[in-house]
């Protein structure tokens, strides 16, 4: 799974810490998602989509 989290965050001028605070997760988790080391749970994916006003499938793209 790849994602556009880093690009979306950069577009809005948000830092990883800002996003982490919005999502009430750690910065470590944001980094892990951005670098593709961790695929978030559905509730967290929905929360991310809500923050950026996008649909989940616009942010998380299945590689296959």
């Amino acid at each position: 799974m790849r994602n556009t989290l880093k690009e979306l965050r950069a577009e809005r001028g948000m830092t990883q810490a800002d996003l982490a605070a919005r999502l009430t997760v750690s910065r470590q988790t944001v980094i892990a998602i951005e670098t593709g080391r961790y695929d978030p749970s559905l509730p967290l994916a929905f929360a991310i989509a809500e923050v950026f006003g996008r649909r989940i499938e616009e942010i998380f793209i299945h590689k296959g």
């Binding site: 880093k6 830092t15 990883q16 810490a17 800002d18 982490a20 605070a21 009430t24 997760v25 750690s26 910065r27 470590q28 988790t29 980094i31 892990a32 998602i33 951005e34 670098t35 080391r37 961790y38 978030p40 749970s41 967290l44």
Partner: protein, 136 residues
């Protein structure tokens, strides 16, 4: 906001390590006291010494659970990795030790200290997994 968030993450991890290392020290001291302080069998002091590690073991479990409930989903995954890796390594050592002892005559490990070894290894593995990640 960003500094506060970074600080919160670091504080959370630091708090866990301080609490866990503290619990490990308490456990090691309790085990040491239980095995090295001489007291006659059946005396109240002996019973007290034998029971000494029990609250220490539960304190360690309490500290671990408290951390688990405080962290987010990715950190929980890392935490569970630490627990399973530690358990796997300790089981491997414990189960292979009798054969190594037989084959090479190595002195038997103090099996009464397994929980102390487990908790030390757990702290080390957790520290490795919780090290700050750098964005690529």
């Amino acid at each position: 906001m960003s500094t506060r968030s970074l600080g919160h993450d670091a504080r959370n991890v630091l708090r866990f390590f301080v609490e866990t290392v503290g619990a490990v020290v308490v456990l090691a001291a309790a085990k040491f006291g239980s095995t090295h302080i001489a007291a006659a069998t059946g005396t109240p002091l002996r019973i007290l010494l034998d029971l000494l590690p029990v609250p220490a073991v539960w304190l360690l479990l309490f500290v671990m659970l408290r951390y688990y409930w405080r962290i987010d989903e990715f950190q929980r995954l890392q935490f569970l990795k630490s627990v399973s890796l530690t358990g796997g390594i300790m089981a491997g050592i414990a189960w292979s030790w009798p054969s190594l002892h037989k084959a090479f005559g190595w002195s038997a490990a103090d099996s009464g200290m397994w929980e102390v070894y487990f908790s030390i290894l757990f702290v080390v593995i957790t520290a490795i997994l919780a090290r700050p990640m750098r964005a690529r």
